[in-house]
């Protein structure tokens, strides 16, 4: 090739993934799907279960938009393979309300104006649910440790903090976190 020419592409296609038979309890329902083994939990939920309430944004664990509860603990679903959740329990934003009755966090987010563009909201609500489950009355340090992994680009965090604080005040008798 002449020196002043660069050539790119033409790469052989990556070999197809092997297929993983994924079985998982999502929002209380046992789900079975055949997925490429490299599928993340985020894409398993969104692309294979139509649970699009869980959002992808950075897909490298920096922004928390994809937070779901895995056996009750908050995880970035973009960093978890679906295969790692075999026979586990996954809870997503879709399970937080029951019918038209909102979870207390959803209600407070709505009242405080904590959702603006709303894209970070599902992840924030899941992270906050995990936080309040562990620390019903979080200290400022516990609060920051629980929430700092979630980025919001619109609100400046004030209304979100306010919503979580108000939810904490009514937390002793909350609707059960599924």
């Amino acid at each position: 090739m002449p020196e002043n020419v660069s050539e790119h592409g033409g790469a052989a296609s990556p070999a197809d993934d092997s297929i993983w038979h994924w079985r998982c309890k999502v929002n209380g329902q046992i789900i079975e799907r055949d997925l490429p083994a490299s599928t993340t939990l985020l894409h398993a939920l969104r692309d294979h279960c139509s649970l699009t309430g869980t959002k992808g944004a950075c897909e490298e664990g920096e922004c928390g938009s994809c937070t779901v509860l895995l056996d009750g603990a908050p995880v970035n679903s973009c960093l978890v393979l679906a295969a790692q959740t075999q026979d586990c329990q996954v809870t997503t934003i879709e399970a937080m309300a029951s019918g038209r009755k909102l979870h207390i966090l959803q209600d407070k987010f709505l009242a405080a104006g904590a959702a603006q563009c709303g894209y970070c909201t599902p992840g924030l609500i899941m992270a906050a649910a995990a936080l309040l489950k562990q620390h019903p009355d979080p200290t400022p340090d516990e609060f920051l440790q629980g929430m700092e992994g979630n980025i919001c680009r619109c609100t400046g965090y004030k209304a979100i903090s306010e919503a979580i604080r108000q939810a904490a005040q009514e937390w002793p008798t909350p609707p059960e976190v599924p």
Binding site: G9, A57, C58, L110, Y119, I151, R153, G156, A159
Partner: protein
């Protein structure tokens, strides 16, 4: 005997009976109420559908875009044959397949949809691949073989202006410029008692909205329907039609729920590409989505500006002259650059009275990402400069920086940079409100160890809203009743989180006396709504708010007319409130508006009104940049930041933040508060951490690990003060919120660092490395641990 006045008899009646209202406690008007977001429920439950959420519910085929491997090169060949051999790939399209002009760009149509012969930045699009699965599309994309002849990369303004720089466009590397000439700045500077000079460098910033670009498109042989998130659906439709060679009537753009924009969706992203794929595969729904890296590598950015600023004053602090020269990195294509340059120049001296002004702004093409619209739009970079200069001048004069501002802030009747006279200038009021809160509130300060230093900084800005400068700027809206008694507002304007839906609904509801619960909004669908202009330039409250109010006001006449026949009084003697038409005088009698609406429909009335709001701004004199009405109105804002700087680590923490905005009238105070606090967070990000790092035309930190965004830890609860000096032309007196929260935040934080350290920052972001450099000007390089704590990868050991 002393007489005492007898107490009034208990039976005595006041002359006028308090009106027995049909309700015990009259509800407040929907304007001024913090009504819940109309789209809030679907957002907190996860039911709102953003563009990427149509995957894979609706997609028949998946598309992806091949991006340039080189920052600057001649394209010798694009061999698509290897891609067509990939299983699942059903089509690969290059520029020869684009039926229309193959050009996009909001101001200059200079940006190819698919590159013909030359790539100018690493995000340039070369081909669209369509396949039966997303992974097959990606494999096909990687299989396309492209041969380039690399050209020298123009990586900076200096590279671009060098004598032997390669020409990026036939007319050279200077995209354009704008000047302001007012008085005689050179002479005034020579005669000034004090002169301060500085060169500022602001950084390239990414919008970093969380909702990555995605879209679906379908061509049924008659209409190309595209669901994708932009900021101006009608202009997008026009540009898509041009690029693809379709009549405009055959394109329909529908905006889904949108996760932030901040100017980042003003330029087209993948709309034309997904539309092209749809045209090639009739009857199929095509889906296309970016990942974060593609989003950051392909999209335009905020302009990095180099600002040379010289400010002169008399010994008493009265400003006399400003001379400002600005070079702007436009990147590979013009985008909205020409407008950004104009806005930068027209805000060069901010809210201050400066009789002699000399401004030259130049936009320079490079091989970096195109730069275009982002919240602040040139005005925010200039605010870094003029507010930084005021603090430098105060130090040099030994004057109080608040007093220096008060002395020079425009008062009502004074003119700003463009020569436009401000009828109602409230900068002093904002500044005083902020200082009053600062001095008379807040928690006692914790004592600091010697290596941590505290400081506070204040900023005052003004901002001209709308496109300005004589550019046609209009909004249209429709307001109508439905047979089931709902009030519907139709607007082409886009909601991306800022609260537009509530703004239009609350204005219409207030005008028609309807409860907000009975209002709903149909928005941003070129098939159903009228052209309302872009959701940008802080313009929608003023422009679309006014259009909605006009339409609602006309519809109100119809309702009052029907009400008159029901209540047997003149329509002028009826008020509409809380869903009722109520007689104004005498014993109040009322009839539900829903009944009047039903009656209206039965009589064959349409009960639907469309209105246009199009105020005139005047084009400036091109020689002097002066205009009697460059902008429809100006916003005034003052912010105060208190920071703590760790002089050993260079870490800056914002401890306290106060923001005062004169919004004219807060249509929804909660929304206004949210816009302010959110803008402040972005301003803190720009002041302290966010920076796009380009190396030889390659974005080195196209991810959220290396592009640092403010988190819960970085933003204190912003104390907001909302002033309501009503704007005579605004709907219910409202002006807007939009961009100013960010514009004022950056200089407030930088001035606080100046106060804490005694050294003035001149380069943004003021991250640990830059703080270290400020404190150690004599040393070439900071120690490795500070370099490592500082985000940009180029600085890492």
């Amino acid at each position: 005997m002393a007489t005492t006045p007898a107490p009034p008899p208990v039976t005595d009646k006041p002359l006028i009976e308090p009106s027995p209202t049909p309700y015990a406690d009259p509800p407040p008007s929907p304007v001024g109420a913090s009504a819940r977001r109309l789209d809030g429920l679907e957002k907190v439950t996860g039911e709102a559908l953003y563009a990427a959420d149509f995957f894979p519910r609706e997609a028949d085929l998946f598309a992806t875009i091949l991006r340039s491997h080189e920052a600057h090169a001649e394209v010798l060949s694009i061999d698509t044959a290897p891609a067509m051999k990939v299983a699942g790939v059903v089509g690969v399209y290059t520029h020869v397949d684009v039926p229309g002009t193959n050009r996009q760009g909001l101001i200059k149509r200079d940006h190819p949809v698919l590159v013909e012969d030359r790539v100018r930045y690493k995000g340039d699009a070369l081909a669209v691949v369509v396949a039966t699965s997303e992974s097959a599309a990606h494999a096909g994309r990687d299989a396309i073989r492209v041969r380039y002849r690399p050209l020298p990369v123009v990586g900076s303004i200096d590279d671009a202006l060098a004598p032997k720089a390669p020409k990026l466009f036939p007319n050279g590397n200077v995209m354009g410029g704008k000047r302001i000439r007012k008085g005689d700045a050179d002479r005034a500077l020579a005669e000034a008692d004090v002169v301060v000079s500085e060169t500022f460098q602001t950084q390239t910033v990414d919008h970093a909205f969380l909702d990555v670009e995605a879209g679906i498109a379908r061509w049924d042989g008659r209409t190309l329907v595209i669901h994708a998130s932009g900021q101006w659906v009608h202009e997008e439709r026009r540009l898509i039609a041009l690029a693809l060679g379709l009549p405009i009537e055959q394109v329909r753009v529908i905006q889904p729920a949108t996760g932030g924009a901040f100017g980042g969706r003003e330029d087209l992203g993948m709309q034309v590409h997904v539309g092209l794929a749809a045209l090639k595969h009739p009857g199929k729904t095509i889906a296309l989505r970016y990942d974060r890296a593609e989003s950051m590598r392909a999209r335009h950015k905020r302009h990095a500006l180099r600002i040379h600023y010289t400010l002169g004053a008399r010994g008493d602090g009265t400003l006399t002259a400003a001379k400002v020269t600005v070079f702007s990195d436009e990147g590979a294509y013009a985008s909205t650059g020409p407008a950004v340059i104009r806005k930068a120049s027209s805000h060069a001296t901010g809210p201050y009275r400066v009789p002699n002004v000399h401004v030259d702004v130049y936009g320079v093409y490079t091989n970096n990402n195109p730069t275009g619209a982002m919240r602040g739009f040139g005005a925010c970079q200039l605010a870094v400069a003029y507010e930084g200069m005021i603090d430098r001048l105060a130090r040099k004069l030994g004057m109080d920086r608040v007093e220096l501002r008060r002395r020079n802030l425009v008062r009502s009747g004074d003119a700003v940079t463009t020569g436009q006279v401000i009828p109602l200038a409230t900068g002093v009021e904002c500044l005083d409100a902020v200082m009053d809160r600062f001095r008379n509130g807040g928690r006692p300060l914790e004592p600091l160890p010697p290596y941590r230093r505290r400081g506070w900084g204040v900023s005052t800005i003004c901002f001209g809203l709308g496109y300005g400068d004589g550019f046609p700027d209009a909004s249209r809206a429709g307001v109508r009743f439905t047979r089931d008694g709902f009030l519907e507002v139709l607007t082409g304007a886009v909601e991306y989180g800022q609260g537009l839906l509530n703004m239009v609904a609350q204005i219409a509801a207030a005008e028609l006396g309807m409860p907000i619960e009975k209002a709903r909004v149909i928005w941003a669908d070129t098939g159903r709504t009228l052209e309302s202009g872009s959701s940008s330039a802080t313009r929608q409250t003023y422009f679309t708010g006014n259009a909605v109010k006009r339409a609602a006001s006309e519809l109100k006449e119809e309702i009052l007319d029907i009400a008159g026949t029901h209540l047997h009084v003149h329509p002028h003697e009826i008020v509409l409130r809380d869903g009722l038409a109520v007689t104004r005088f005498g014993e109040p009698r009322s009839v539900p508006i829903a009944e009047l609406v039903a009656d209206g429909f039965n009589r064959g009335y349409e009960l639907s009104v469309k209105a246009l709001y199009k105020p005139a701004t005047l084009c400036e004199n091109f020689e002097t940049g002066q205009s009697p009405r460059a902008f429809i109105t100006y916003l005034f804002v003052s912010h105060l930041a208190q920071v703590v700087v760790d002089v050993e680590t260079g870490q800056v923490t914002v401890e306290r933040y106060i923001a005062c905005h004169d919004v004219g009238k807060a249509i929804n105070p909660q929304s206004v508060d949210g816009q302010i606090t959110g803008g402040v967070a972005q301003g803190i990000g720009m002041a302290l951490m966010e920076e796009v790092v380009m190396r030889e035309g390659r974005m080195a930190n196209a991810n959220f690990t290396d592009y640092i965004l403010p988190t819960f830890r970085d933003v204190p609860p912003v104390e907001t003060i909302i002033l309501e000096n009503q704007d005579p032309g605004g709907p219910f007196g409202a002006r807007g919120v939009g961009e100013p929260p960010l514009i004022a935040a950056v200089p407030a934080v930088l001035n606080a660092i100046h106060d804490a350290l005694g050294v003035a920052p001149h380069t943004t972001p003021c991250n640990p490395q830059r703080v270290w450099e400020l404190l150690h000007p004599e040393q070439a390089e900071p120690p490795a641990d500070i370099r490592f704590r500082t985000a940009p990868p180029h600085a890492r050991p």
